[in-house]
Symmetry: D4
Subunit: 255 residues, 8 copies
């Protein structure tokens, strides 16, 4: 149930078009749906303005399909699924009640799937997503597709790592016109600090597990980003493109 | 040099009230000041809208005084100094050219000092700062005073840790009306996740070094916050109240 | 040899129905059985009230079968096998002297196998098993099946993580009526603290390896749980559903 | 407010001796008290059967005194303060409204302070507290005094580490008659496993920071205890004698 | 070249049976053999009394065969190969110049291969090898077979972990009659401390990677063993059965 | 564009053989090429004297081919590709515009591929590459082939680890005549310290992931090399043979 | 009670010079003495041939004096105290019943104290103690004084670290004539590997906390020593000179 | 003894101006001097061209004075002492045989002391030393003073961290004209990567312990620098300004 629906329902009551009992009935519809293996939060869209997102890792294809169906049944019109394996994506696609009218999109690089239409962007400005290298692209696309699903314009700046500063400096205008920047890098993760020094908007840093040896699966860029000498940087989990985009979208939609 | 000054200067040029040569002269004023031990970034206020902040740790009182004076000489009207020892604060206070007209404020709990007047808040809304316990107050006050210095309204919710949920739930209205929330906690750092589940605005999490044993100086809440199962959370360095407030202010002043 | 058998034997001696020599003979039966690769503890049931449990990981199917047979031969009537691979389960099933009269149960999700009948619950109350997410289910089922094998009533609360508090709060009655709670969570592991703040019984926390990046294979929830700001929480090894259930059963059967 | 008070109040209502309005008034008394630096949970005793405990570390003597006074004012009759420095203890002692009628006890070894009388033990059995060495005594006494404050009989077995097994084996009877055992050890922390192999009751293990070099401040015994090959062991934070005793008391008072 | 050969050569010179030039020629035979990928130390047997051992991991089957052949060509009569894959073992076996007269032995559990005859034991006493569990057997057999190859009597005590102390105590006589003990355990690694407390000879502890979760690949028993509260314990690398046996053999052959 | 080309172009301008406009045109050719997934730095050869190197890990074969072709199109005559899988190597080989005239070389051990001719060595002296063991060869060959590609004479000293010092000491002359030494070792990484004590030129140490147990994927030799008690040692990432050779070549070509 | 005393007592019984009852009485003297804070193991000298050693760290001077007196009262004639602070040493010295006849020795560098006479060496050969640098001396002297107290000849080789190999090589004869070697080093800890490559006797390695930065309090040499590529090395805890000497003495007194 | 002296001595022999016996006598002067607590390497200057340097940490003032005197006695004319406390510096100064003719210099910031004259620079070019911030100055000055002592011209660029890129870019000419660069930074350590991307000479990176929280005493910049995405970077230990300068000087003096 979206906030708009809630307002409309309440104004129907206010104008006498709906009895109080009917309104209570609609509102008392239990906000959680218990599937045995999952407890869905059906009022989240109402509470936070964004529908439930399914974290696909560690769930069987059957469980994912079950959750999708419960959500659709509860009236949610678009669903994002992250870390979705190709097999599970195929499974979800086939299981949709009406795959023709209900678009399903899947990107194997970022392993992002979405059910329903991508909304028209309604944020304040643009989210710039920059990566240090080509190998950071799966994380970057998870961020980009999530941000687009949540109603944002996205500009991609890929492979602009600090070892060749002019690659980054040639995009200074893009950086200065961003409303939020997501800086994604593995190895030494210096990209976040350098971008934050150039920009005047919040920078959300995403360390990636790209690298080897003493990168320790993303620990090196994680620590680097947490210790950024530039102000205006905060950090999300290693490879967490979704989390960065979710917060970036909140900032881009700030009241 | 603030952006307002720049605009005014440029419009003077546009209207013929200032020669191009004079404008160039004013603009070419070198943006860095070299003090031997420090290289000041004098155009930062112009570039990012916020003046240089002095990180007081690891600098001698004399170096801090030298930097403050160079900033004042370059026209900056208010200066924030973090991690300022009481001794250095005393030193700075005495060295101000005119301590009477130029207010100096120092808080020994958060070790924050400020030169010049605190501005009238001009952000979009309120920044809520919540802590898990009483011992997190030094970090929380560093965040609160920084946010106030940067022009924000701040609401403090201290000692509302998750071990007694009703303490937090009784403030649900405050949480829902925030524009940004800074969640500060040591020990297991669960506060960030619980608040992010309740709120619909960005949450910046600050792990603190409060705790003992397997808290490992803040590592436990740091990891917990990075792995938050709630969406909308990003993290700054352990005990980094300043960094959280800086980004929160950016979000609260988003274009 | 169960404690009941011991008591009956001793009372036979007391009443003169058994000679001291016969009793000694029965009691001197060596309490360990050496299989070359394993040294079985045949008196454990007598000493601790619970029969030997086989930890299946790192043992060949042949070794597991050998241990099961030695246990059955020594008179043990029910055997629990944890971390049992499907292949080894098949092997054990086939090798049972009389698979028809001796039930064998295997759950591929939790990899728990059991030989013999599950006892009627005889504990003081209920063990509540709660998980943060769907992906924690294998660990939760290891705990649930172990607890049932050891004679406990179990209530399952799955996918009630702290990102949506009302999911948990709607089960407050269940939590308050528990005798022991096992809180299972990966990622930031905040579930244990929140439940312990609501409950008035011991909480055994199980960190899981669910998560990615800075979860570091369960290190993040492990540290979080060890640093819980709520009182009444203790912790077992990452993914150790069996260990939590074993101790929970001890508490639920406390003298 | 204790559960007994609540029951008596409710029965007064049931018998018509108290009006509903008066009962509501008494019950609606706000369960949290806000002191600015602390948010007290005044209904915890009602909810969990145990009054609020003050964690003294990181609080100023004035803050501790303020919390103690607020608790006394709310009707709590006995208060436990952990990690209380000698200075703060002196401060608390002096500040008590009537130090003569309200006993104050302080133990500098364990840094435990208590206000009010220690209750008569009412648990099911005995809590045995065992340590590996003499140096573990501060943690052990924190556990022992907490357990006594919470109404338990305590038996101390100090310096019975595994390097000389007969020291431990000579106390086998004590171990077998315990209802709960708290095993406290630094260095390699093997005590917990050995005791759990001998006992038939829950063992709560407390790693201590006793040791040097590769003990890494208690990390070595912490990991050892989490990996105990003996069943029935759970673990609390390094040096957390209080936490172990709190849970042990819960087990010893299980319904 | 063995020390015996050296002595006989020198006494031949002393007795005039060999010219100095001939002796020099024999002695100047280059002590290293360069194979491009390996630099063999042909005098090690002379220097240390033990021939070169081949560490098979990270070497191709061809490289191992090349090294074996170079060693045989230099006169070494028996060769131990550790961490030898079944494929490489097959390869070595086939490549031996005369597989019939030159025995080759391979144990797939410990991945130990040996070329040439196992010597008659000539050490001072017995090396006892004890393990905590069945899963430690591959490491234990690497130790046992190495010790036998180096001329020692070996007694195996497998699966005598501390969770059931009587399993270990029933072998107290074996422990007290050992000259060296190798204590092998994963999980919490307490076996080393308990054995060292019972024994009066050196104990070499081998942590194994057996375990899961917070065992962190053997880190938990490694730290525990390094922090043993019992005297007389030293430690080798995780899973390093060979290294423990090599030093144990040195001790058992001490001058 | 190489520095030589730049100088020739500029002297053509100086001598009037090229119009300024033509020169500008040639120089303004954009120094970065955007491929969507990669931003190539086409002027790096001009700036640093060494052409762009492709780090093959984490790139698809198609991406690598795309980058190679863009580089060739921009006039680069030789290209080094590190961490190139055999499949990608095959793909690159087939895609070369004219594989006959443009040599392609691939070494499956070091996973190094190169397009174009290897230059005649033009450094000041010799780079000596020493390894502790045979298993370090893939890293050593990555270093050796990189150094040769960058125009250096290379001397290989493989399997000269410190356990048999005479293996190393017999090469003392080679060590003393080196201009730079790359010391490559896993396990305890002592090779770097011992070589640096013998040599009088810079030593670049490369820890490798060779080893097991407490080697922790190369952490042990990494820490050892960083803490070398010998002066003149610096360290690169674990297994980073390329990085060591790149810097060694810089030193060997120092102005 | 020493083994000699036991044998003499038993032979008195065998020869009829002592009644069985008297012998039982002497033997039944309780082997542990409970001091409240310590449980002394009075039969350890009988069991292991070496009297109880007092680990002074974490014990109050009064506790140490109490233990010393209990030991003297039980007939032990010489006592070693490690990690003894100067204050506690003074306290022990003063408390001795007869300081004149009972020698007390204290070395402030190694913090070793001993009560009673140092025995005449009775080991098989010499223990060589080598250090990498001057700063390792406190640990080395703890080892040397312990070894001497336990009846061993000790040869000291200090400051022979691997950065200047000839310092070590000039002592090759001493190394080759040792029966056991204790190799003590901080920083990269390479000394153990190099010595083990030269020697033909067991090497016990002691990492020290000497160093800074990435030495991480001794972690770097600890890992290096555990991963020694030379055979015959085992390791004790960081800075544990006592533990190394204790095992070295066992080896030097092997049956 | 310097190499020049050696050559002159040998040519005297060649020309018959010195008898072979006299030369042997001079050359056989023992290259190590044993002071009990230290083994000096007197031929290091001959072997490596640089005299012994004294690492002052962990040595008593008396030991340092003893080493200085032994060096002067052996003919060394200038001595560098790192990590020298003010007290020890005072002690050394007073102990010099002739403080007037033998200059002694001490810098309390970097804790570097030197005996004898600083040589005229004779390297190939300039060593540039850059720091991220003012707090890195002690490490930077240790590097700068060491480099000057070893005969190098040094250019200092302090406080040019990446948060304000133009501070660094304004020094691009200095960076491009360097022969070696030492990049010193704490926090996220990004300076090394950015400089290496701009420069065409070797960059030696020094992580510093400047920072707090997740900087973990320099671990964050250490990992970042090891994972630099820019080529040409190698790393020394945390805070090891001396080590960086020593290698930089070797590079700057390359044959």
């Amino acid at each position: 149930m979206k906030q708009d629906h809630l307002r409309s329902l309440l104004s129907q009551v206010a104008q006498g078009h709906m009895s109080i009992d009917d309104a209570v009935l609609k509102l008392r519809a239990t906000p959680t749906a218990e599937l045995g293996y999952a407890t869905l939060d059906m009022h989240r869209e109402l509470r936070q303005g964004i529908g439930e997102v399914i974290y696909g890792a560690g769930k069987t294809p059957d469980q994912i399909v079950g959750i999708v169906n419960a959500m659709l049944a509860s009236g949610q019109s678009s669903i994002l699924i992250t870390r979705l394996s190709p097999e599970a994506a195929h499974h979800v696609h086939k299981s949709l009640p009406n795959p023709d009218s209900l678009p399903f999109d899947y990107d194997p690089l970022s392993r992002i799937g979405s059910v329903g239409a991508i909304p028209v962007p309604d944020g304040r400005g643009t989210i710039v997503i920059a990566t240090g290298g080509t190998s950071d692209m799966p994380v970057a696309e998870e961020a980009a597709k999530t941000a687009e699903f949540l109603g944002n314009n996205v500009t991609r700046l890929y492979d602009v790592g600090v070892a060749g500063l002019h690659r980054l400096l040639s995009h200074q205008h893009t950086i200065l016109s961003a409303h939020v920047i997501i800086a994604i890098a593995g190895m030494e993760g210096a990209l976040a600090s350098v971008i934050a020094g150039l920009a005047d908007c919040p920078v959300i840093a995403v360390p990636t597990s790209v690298g080897y040896g003493a990168a320790f699966g993303g620990l090196a860029p994680l620590l680097a980003m947490l210790n950024s000498c530039a102000s205006g940087v905060s950090v999300v989990n290693i490879d967490n493109g979704f989390g960065a985009a979710y917060q970036a979208s909140m900032i881009n939609h700030v009241k």
